[in-house]
């Protein structure tokens, strides 16, 4: 059977599947270049990489409309890209350039873009939870059917406002989805040392619909997110998704000596067996929905696009220091 025939027989939107594959590859390629820029001292500040967690941002955002909202985290490059951010303006922001999404005033941890519904990456852990809930509130009050997604790490489970947000969302049946990315480490501490009880009960206690998902499997992520997003859009209230995943790299690029909090063997196991791109790519090929050559070509295209974006950002000018006082007030 030809690939086209198999695609038809699979009864799945292959265009969507390839879009998701490309999305994951793009985030990986973006983050590898961010790592490179950082280690070469071309990127100021901090770089928190999303490598290993790509399936979550991509699988969830594929279930969203362009006018839906997201809030993101300090580890937010993946969410922003998956929601539609373009790499050249992303890199420009990472390097603090005037051409960046926030004119260089936000940086890596604060990418925001109304055009793609991105309410902003947020460097206060749990900070996005109230904002996403509020955007969902506005959507409901204005009679829109826009959904808001709050991405957060399991570290935010220690923050009270997350629970205040879920309480309000369920009380008022708001179209918001809380996506907990449990990458197992709150900075340099295993989550078992910071998290009492179990995670989904925190949401079900408020009455939220909840599901636990393999965050390395983009098909599972997308299926669960689609269900929750449609449910919220229908007016059936908020949802909670626990995504089990793993942070392949350190808390930030400079977090190199990690032996004191996790073993190299653990990292290697996840990278070898649980890489979301390899898992999905392997599935596409084994199902006969794409061939290895096509996926390789796609990766090369993405790499070229990312290289060009890096060049754009490197060549872009810094903001004039005189602009420091602009944008404090609207």
């Amino acid at each position: 059977m030809s690939i086209a025939a198999k695609q038809e027989a699979a009864g799945l939107d292959v265009e969507k599947a390839l879009h998701m594959y490309r999305g994951m590859v793009a985030i990986r390629a973006f983050e590898e270049r961010a790592n490179d820029l950082y280690t070469r001292a071309l990127m100021p500040g901090l770089a928190h990489l999303y490598i290993g967690e790509e399936a979550i941002a991509v699988g969830v955002c594929e279930a969203l409309r362009p006018d839906d909202y997201i809030t993101s985290t300090h580890r937010g490059h993946g969410h922003c890209l998956a929601k539609g951010a373009v790499p050249n303006l992303m890199f420009a922001e990472l390097l603090g350039k005037e051409a960046g999404y926030c004119k260089g005033k936000g940086g890596s941890m604060h990418i925001a873009d109304p055009a793609t519904g991105n309410l902003g990456a947020n460097a206060i852990v749990g900070g996005g939870s109230t904002l996403a809930t509020g955007a969902a509130y506005a959507s409901k009050m204005l009679g829109q059917d826009r959904v808001a997604v709050c991405f957060f790490g399991e570290g935010a489970l220690g923050q009270g406002v997350l629970y205040e947000s879920m309480n309000l969302a369920q009380l008022w049946t708001l179209p918001v989805l809380y996506v907990c990315e449990n990458n197992m480490y709150c900075e340099y501490t295993h989550y078992s040392e910071t998290t009492a009880g179990d995670i989904p009960s925190r949401a079900t206690a408020f009455g939220l619909a909840s599901e636990t998902v393999d965050g390395q499997d983009v098909r599972a992520v997308h299926a669960a997110a689609s269900k929750m997003v449609e449910r919220a859009r229908r007016g059936d209230g908020p949802g909670f998704l626990l995504m089990n995943t793993y942070r392949f790299r350190g808390h930030h690029v400079g977090d190199i000596a990690r032996d004191y909090y996790r073993s190299k063997q653990e990292e290697q196991r996840w990278m070898a067996d649980r890489d979301p791109i390899a898992i999905f790519g392997g599935w596409l090929v084994s199902e006969g929905l794409a061939d290895k050559g096509a996926l390789d070509r796609l990766e090369k295209e993405v790499a070229a696009e990312m290289d060009a974006a890096v060049e754009f950002a490197k060549n872009a000018p810094y903001p004039d220091a005189q602009r420091v006082d602009e944008d404090v007030y609207a």
Partner: protein, 341 residues
Amino acid sequence: MPDTAIHPERSRGTAVREISYADAIREALAEEMRRDPTVFVIGEDVAEAGTPFKVVKGLVEEFGKTRVVDTPISEAGFTGLAVGAAMAGMRPVVDIMFGDFMTLIMDQVVNQAAKIHYMSGGKWKVPMVIRATMGATRRSAAQHSQSLHAWPSHIPGLKVAIPSTPYDAKGLLKAAIRDDNPVVVFEDKISYAKVKGPVPDEDYVIPLGVADIKREGSDISIVATSSMVQVALGAATMLEEIGIDAEVVDPRTTWPLDEKTLIESVKKTSRCIVVDEGYFRYGVTGEIASVIAEGAFYDLDGPVRRLGARHVPIPFAPPLEDATVPNERDVVALARQMCNK
């Protein structure tokens, strides 16, 4: 701006109705809610209860519970929700029952609301108002009596209004609601029922950042805020009897701060007392005094003097609590000393 717009009591020679500070605030909210369907009130017991101070009583009957929204006791949650709603097209007016609870919402206000416009390179806006209260002497003890308006005044991205009269309360609140930035409005709890004054029927706003001379005088400037304006005016009357002509200047907003009007007043009088109900240390009086010292140094007869809340947690026992807040006698004694009378 014509003088009659700022001072309706000086206008036309015809009678202007008098209403309370609380009624002025309620009118401002109702008028703005009628004018703009994206304006809504959110907070604890704001609907049928109309807050413990009854300031928003009756709004729910006109606008319903979807626009006068009762919340759980969850200040950080609903304030942060309002920030997100403001970004997504609404104009929330958040009710923080006691200004002391600013502590509970500081991350939402300081790290989120105040910074989102700047961090996004000017792309997102947060057009919201936080109404909080201030003022002691209600025997409410240390956690329900503070005046914390210096806190948001310290943060870039926020504006802060501290009205002293019904006219100012209405005009400043309407301006705050129409502003595209987060604005914190501190209302003096004692003034709600106690302070009455002229408020015209017609629509008006008072621009944020314009001080008001509440009483003209030539011998000494008393820069007073919120609850302390009444104290300063009372003191000025007493001073008049002993031949000291005091000018009372009300900044009306701590940020933007109308530095020019304050400095001009002191250039005229050459003496200045700053009186404010916030804690004395590291607060509003210190900032205003330094602005005046820098701007009117060569016109001053002596140092700018300050009166503020005593540097203690607000106590419960009436004689102790009363000792924490500046009063007319304190202002008079200081003014006499400064004027050698």
